[in-house]
């Protein structure tokens, strides 16, 4: 079916080629396979080049803060000798207040280098403010397209705040009501303006995060004499995880466990008008984290550079109540008032630390700024106004979209494992139409093993499991 909204989608590849300067066709290999590393190499940058670009923008080199009191609290619930040291990389100290400045830096640099007049991005998150802030520094025009309101014209407080931030940096914020046609609207604006597409999923958008992982390894070695045993990364579109993991690997930290974390919003439809304001998290949740992992190429570019299943060792969810609780704990026990979205991985780290030895390090790789709208109090009061029950209790009993349960005590914060093999199967299922009725070539098998971080035997099991 070709509705008015879908017509422009047929021009997607042409518009994207113009707006990003990458010919994705050259990376295609055969069947389902494409050369991911070649794409990252040829369109990306080396760590040294990235550091240079980010130094120009004063992005990165954020401090790692050891959370002594949260560690002590976690040890209250751990058996003797257990309770790893919890650390957090204070990415809120970047210009525009989040790690997204790293991703934006490369896109803005690239847009300027290629002579574009302006830069366009589709995001309801911190990335908009990051692009707007660096575009301001480089004298580029900027448009941020965001999904903001439901059909009652009620705006999600967190997104309304992000619009304000983008406008503070001089950007135009083009706001929309709920719906996936945001993408066709974005394409039309790209076509009309001829601006650069600061996609979150281009090699630039991912390469910019590699410095984050790299800094974690080098800073930890310098200060603690080793790599952290685990790094916890909030996962939504997959770019944060992919970039951080790649940076860790580039620094040689190959034994560090890559732990993905998302807020459990299961049961809420992401494109639903009525569910839109019944969630208190607009990102970092399972509604993005799972589909973008199992079908990375659903993004706005022909081949996404964000491919989290290549790197994930473990994946956990926590509840909205857990994250709000941890945000309050971070402010009250560590003196760090930060936004809630960045604390999803902190809640997971708090739970996992209890299963790790005292001399081990578990590191949360981001924080984000906070302010009216994107602060836990307005988020919770907004939830209440929208008929969500907010109370103390056991977070396990929450129903996303109906209740938010703040843990009665910190010991009730649990990291619930997601079945990564199931996600791998789901990834393969999404590719099935392209693989059916033929033998996979050796090249395709190698590609799939890398995509899913599995060996031959495991790939075989996944392919034949429950076909």
């Amino acid at each position: 079916m070709s509705s008015k909204a879908d017509q422009i989608l047929q021009e997607k590849n042409v518009i994207m080629k113009e707006a990003i300067g990458i010919d994705y066709d050259i990376f295609e290999q055969e069947g389902v396979a494409f050369d991911y590393e070649r794409m990252m190499r040829e369109s990306g940058y080396t760590i040294e080049e990235l550091q240079e670009i980010q130094a120009h923008f004063f992005v990165g080199n954020t401090p790692i803060i050891e959370l002594y009191n949260l560690t002590k609290l976690a040890r209250k619930y751990a058996k003797p000798g257990y309770g790893a040291r919890i650390m957090i990389k204070d990415e809120a100290t970047n210009p525009s207040g989040s790690f997204k400045a790293r991703r934006a830096s490369v896109s803005v640099y690239e847009a300027k280098r290629l002579g574009y007049k302006g830069i366009l991005t589709a995001t309801s998150g911190n990335y908009g403010a990051a692009v707007a802030s660096l575009a301001a520094k480089e004298g580029l025009d900027c448009i941020v397209v965001q999904e903001t309101y439901d059909s009652r014209h009620v705006g999600q407080p967190e997104i309304v705040e992000k619009a304000r931030a983008c406008e503070a940096y001089g950007a135009e914020v083009f706001q929309l009501s709920v719906g996936p046609e945001l993408f066709s609207t974005f394409l039309k604006l790209l076509k009309d303006t001829g601006y650069f597409n600061a996609s979150l999923y281009s090699p630039f958008g991912i390469a910019g995060v590699e410095t984050l992982g790299y800094e974690i390894a080098t800073d930890c070695r310098e200060k603690y004499g080793k790599d952290p045993e685990a790094v916890v990364i909030t996962n939504a579109g997959g770019g944060n995880l992919t970039g951080t993991a790649r940076g860790l690997i580039k620094a040689g930290a190959i034994d560090t466990r890559i732990v993905a974390a998302s807020v459990d919003l299961s049961g809420l439809h992401m494109a639903s008008d009525t569910a839109f304001n019944r969630k208190s998290f607009t990102t970092g949740h399972t509604g993005f984290g799972v589909p973008f992992s199992t079908n990375p190429d659903r993004s706005d570019v022909p081949r996404s550079a964000a491919r989290p299943l290549r790197y994930i060792d473990e994946y956990y969810t926590v509840t909205q109540g857990d994250v709000f609780f941890m945000t309050e704990a971070l402010a009250n026990l560590e003196g760090l008032e930060r936004g809630p979205a960045g604390n999803t991985s902190l809640a997971v780290a708090f739970a996992l630390a209890q299963e790790m030895k005292e001399d081990e390090i578990i590191l949360v790789q981001e924080t984000e700024y906070t302010g009216a709208g994107k602060h836990i109090n307005p988020q919770l009061s907004f939830a209440r106004e929208n008929g969500i029950e907010v109370k103390f209790g056991n977070p396990e009993e929450q129903v996303p979209g109906e209740s938010i349960i703040l843990p009665e005590n910190a010991g009730l914060i649990k990291a619930t494992p997601l079945d990564v093999d199931r996600m791998r199967k789901s990834y393969l299922k999404n590719l099935r139409p392209k693989m059916e009725g033929r033998e996979l070539s050796e090249l395709e098998r190698t590609f799939l093993k890398e995509e899913l971080k599995v060996d031959d035997e495991k790939l075989e099991t996944l392919l034949n499991g429950d076909a």
Binding site: M1, S3, K4, A5, D6, N69, K72, L73, K76, G118, D141, I143, T148, Y149, S151, H153, V160, E161, R164, E167, A171, E172, V173, F174, Q175, L176, S177, V178, G179, P180, E181, T185, T193, H269, A271, S272, D273, T274, F324, F325, E328, A329, A331, N332, L333, A372, G373, H375, I376, N377, P378, Q379, L380, S381, F382, R384, V390, F392, L406, N409
Partner: protein
Amino acid sequence: MIKKDTWVRIHGIVLEPSERSANVPEDTAKVPLEFWTKGWLLNDAEIGDEVTIRTACGREETGNLLEANPMYELNYGKLVPELIEIGPKLRRILEEENE
């Protein structure tokens, strides 16, 4: 009357319900896809008129005039009493450990 060159907010319809993508959920399919943006008014107009504005990036956009000198109405919300209980409770637990 809103004067030309005033900073305003406009609103319009991108897609009527009948024009929406086939894959949107039922509740979303029933309502139009709407847009909002801000800019400087190109001609004098009244609230509700169809107007053209020049946006922050110099682009022209047409829609219905919604408000002049739009303000940010976001705030820190009504106090959520449960939240302020968390800090003191956690500090007590940590102090107990020190005793």
